[in-house]
């Protein structure tokens, strides 16, 4: 945390309702200049609402948006100098590529000659040199996406907002363009907010990831951090983690699952956890078992810490690993195991050892309390 640049965007307690239903509840975060933030969440989580509030297309009910030191909530969208790339691109169908790209420059009263130069430069940057005179309906999906990017970049926006800009493209094209967009944005040093519901896309584009669920900001962190330590079971489930066990944390800091009586010790993790007073009370928590943290172990005469006993329900070969579904006492759990030596076949009874580093405690009580309080206010 030593040299974080001062934030250019600060969102405080932002809330919005639509016909009485809260779409966004007390969202706060800040973003440094030049960084790319990904808003990640399932549909209906409020990510597009947040983006539209930032753009000024909708008005917030509560909270403030401070950009470059000024509260911009009263500034109409056309005076914010923010760029936005829409999900359906929103290219003007009655204008050609060049007219679309120069629209913003024209609104800034940029002289015609300079307009053309800047449009050509930005078109070349997105790989569409020579497309200036094309009509919009002559472009492919990928080309339209590039024109939309060029159009939003041409006026040099102070903040670029991207609303699922790759949503309608096919997977391969999407993967390629994700990389290209990041390269271009980084080259220009644009501060950007990128909305997506695809975690792979978010992780590969973002400097920071904000995970939204039911209008609440669940976690705001670097992509690695989000993946390594999801803040709660909602985030973990959204990220695709399946091995979530409900249970209680005892006074010695050990976890006991409610179903199946599995027991884990998380010494390493708990020691570094600040503010947890070990041994005073018992807590109900959720334990995440990361899929890569298991290894085959020899059989033990009786149940032990961090051991899983069970039958192999399914063994799937994934190329660089095997995915094993273990029918454990607490239900099915999935792990990824190295291909060498190959794990036992389906039906075999095995014994897995889970490394403490692969265990993540979620839903500690203090976070739960906070959420309940928000609920009451929301």
């Amino acid at each position: 945390m030593a040299e974080t640049p001062p934030p250019i965007l600060e969102v405080r307690q932002l809330g919005n309702r639509y016909q009485g239903r809260p779409l966004l509840r007390r969202v706060s975060f800040s973003l440094a200049a030049g960084e790319i933030l990904c808003l990640l969440g399932p549909s209906g989580s409020g990510k597009t609402t947040l983006l539209r509030l930032l753009a000024g297309l909708e008005e917030a009910d509560t909270g403030t948006i401070i950009f470059a030191g000024r509260d911009i909530r009263a500034t109409p969208p056309h005076k914010r100098n923010f760029g936005m790339m829409f999900q359906d691109y929103a290219l003007f169908p009655h204008c050609n590529v060049l007219e679309n790209v120069t629209f913003g420059l024209e609104m800034q009263h940029c002289p015609p000659r300079e307009r053309r130069q800047r449009a050509d430069a930005v078109l070349a940057m997105v790989g569409l040199a020579g497309f200036a005179e094309r009509r919009i309906d002559q472009l492919s999906g990928g080309e339209r996406q590039r024109v939309a990017l060029a159009r939003s970049l041409a006026p040099e926006p102070r903040l670029l907002l991207l609303d699922e800009p790759l949503g309608s493209l096919d997977r391969t094209l999407r993967d390629r363009l994700t990389g290209e967009i990041r390269t271009i944005l980084k080259k220009l040093g644009v501060t950007a907010i990128f909305v997506t519901h695809d975690q792979a896309e978010a992780f590969s584009v973002a400097d920071q990831v904000a995970i939204l669920h039911s209008g609440r900001l669940q976690q705001f962190a670097r992509p690695e951090e989000v993946y390594r330590a999801p803040r709660n079971s909602t985030v973990a489930a959204f990220l695709g983690f399946q091995n979530l066990l409900a249970g209680r944390l005892d006074r010695t800091g050990r976890f006991h699952s409610s179903i199946g009586g599995l027991a884990f010790t998380l010494t390493g993790q708990l020691a570094s956890d600040e503010g947890v007073e070990r041994g005073t009370t018992e807590e109900m928590v959720t334990l995440l078992l990361r899929p890569e943290g298991a290894r085959l172990a020899g059989s033990l005469p009786r149940p032990a810490w961090n051991r899983l006993l069970g039958r192999v329900a399914e063994r799937r070969f994934l190329g660089n690993s095997y995915r094993l579904t273990l029918e454990s006492a607490a239900g099915p759990l999935r792990f990824e195991l190295p291909i060498d030596p190959p794990p036992p076949v389906e039906g075999a009874r095995i014994n897995l050892e889970i490394t403490p580093g692969a265990l993540v405690l979620l839903d500690r009580e203090e976070t739960t309390d906070l959420e309940q309080e928000e609920e009451g206010l929301g």
Partner: protein, 561 residues
Amino acid sequence: MNGRELSIRRLLFAIPLAFLALFYLYPLTRIALQSLFPAGSWNPGQLSALTDSPVYLRILWFTIWQAALSTLLTLLFALPGALVFARYRFAGKGLFLALMTVPFVLPTVVTATAFRALLGPSGILNEGLMALFSLEQPPIRIEQSLIFFLLAHIFYNYSLVLRLVSSYWAGLNPSLTAAAQLLGASPWQTFRRVTLPLLLPAITAAALLVFIFCFTSFGIILILGGPGYATIEVEIYRQAVQLYNLPMAAALSLVQIGVNFFLMWLHARLGKNNRLGFFSDSRHDVTKEPHGVAARLLVAGNLLFLSLLLLSPLLALVLRSLRGDTGLTLAYYRALGHFDQESIFFVAPLTAVWNSLGFAMVAMVLAVLLGLAAATALAGERGRATSFWDALLMLPLATSAVTLGFGYIISLNRPPVDLRDSLALVPIAHTLVAFPFVLRCILPSLRQIPATLREAATLLGASPFMVWRRVDFPMSRRAILVGAVFAFSISMGEFGASAFVTRPHTATMPVAIFRFLSQPGEMNYGQAMAMSTILMLVTCAAFWLLGRFSTTPTPPNHPPT
């Protein structure tokens, strides 16, 4: 498709085609012959007389500019309304939309009568003002003036423009305007640079339609304009019926046919070029509550105007039909029942009512049968040939009812087809006018049925007829119903062709209303009001019934006048 099925299709198609040839192309050919070969030999003198005479040039010029002025005024009033319906949410919106279907179904004669009931010399407003201020003369004197029929044209076309433009507007992708705003365009710049250019195709198409309707305006000008004003349509009627100058009427008809074909072709072309893909695929509701004084005033003002424009003539009509010298009375309605000597008028009113109902039933059945045959034949294929035949069948739409009626009286009055005194003449004319509308209702719905459904039925053992009965018919039943109601109400309200082809014993309600209005006297006036009220109620009831059957009774076009 096997050979047998193909020949069945051809046979099916031959029926509407033969009908069209006999009752549309043949009369039109007679019009051309009458104007170019008046005495059996080539003599284009009538056409050159048209262009040489300042009288006819003035008529042509008047027809054009009154249509242009009507179009301009309609746009002026309807476009703010379109904004209100496209962008704002307010209580009773559905009710207002339903109210706007009323002019679509109202016969021109009823509209004209209703405006006389409201603003004529013995209309509600004038009588009210005279009583209020003890005036000797009616204060509003717009009878037989331009304003009178311009108002009626606006009444007719206001909702057409509003509905066409506002539905197009509501379908515009809302991100386009948001994108313009984020690129720095102010609200006004956004409207001028993005919204307006995108709306332009819809506005142009709507304007062209309004122009076409006003260009062929007949009943309204005849009843509200008086002898001082004549469009080409009115002049054809005068030349043919009053002056019996058939070659001149034919020459005028030829001009009218030419201009109409050109305008319709223009409209079809515009429609073809307009299919830009800028409709948002996520059609979420983009309307908002009116916030602020300006927005509220805009919404309230437009709704007030709309209600006043659409409701006041109709209310005036009903009131006037019930008001006699001594207060409320049903005297005019009772008078319709007997054919007394007091009216020196040769059509029994009750006969006209029964005629209208009977003809409308026959025309409805005929138009639906022909429409079904044509649609079934055309639905299976797509291609250049199919669209040619489709366009051919739609031609009657591009011909004014007056020219059609005139064509009938000069062609179907002698062998090979002599229907002069036949009861069949009026329903045939009405069928021809209604047929294109019925086809436009049924054909798209048949084409929407996936081919796999028919194939599945065939593979399950259904014969081609059974496929039609069990798949096509049930799936397009609603469209057939819509087409039938259209045909019925078009026939009920048809005036242009009926003015020519009806005889005393075949007179219809619109013709009778026109006759009543042409006669002096309070009784005749009152009976015109009463009969118009009945006609209005019948057509509105038909569409109300339709609304209960189908979810969206959106008319494919304006019924002809």
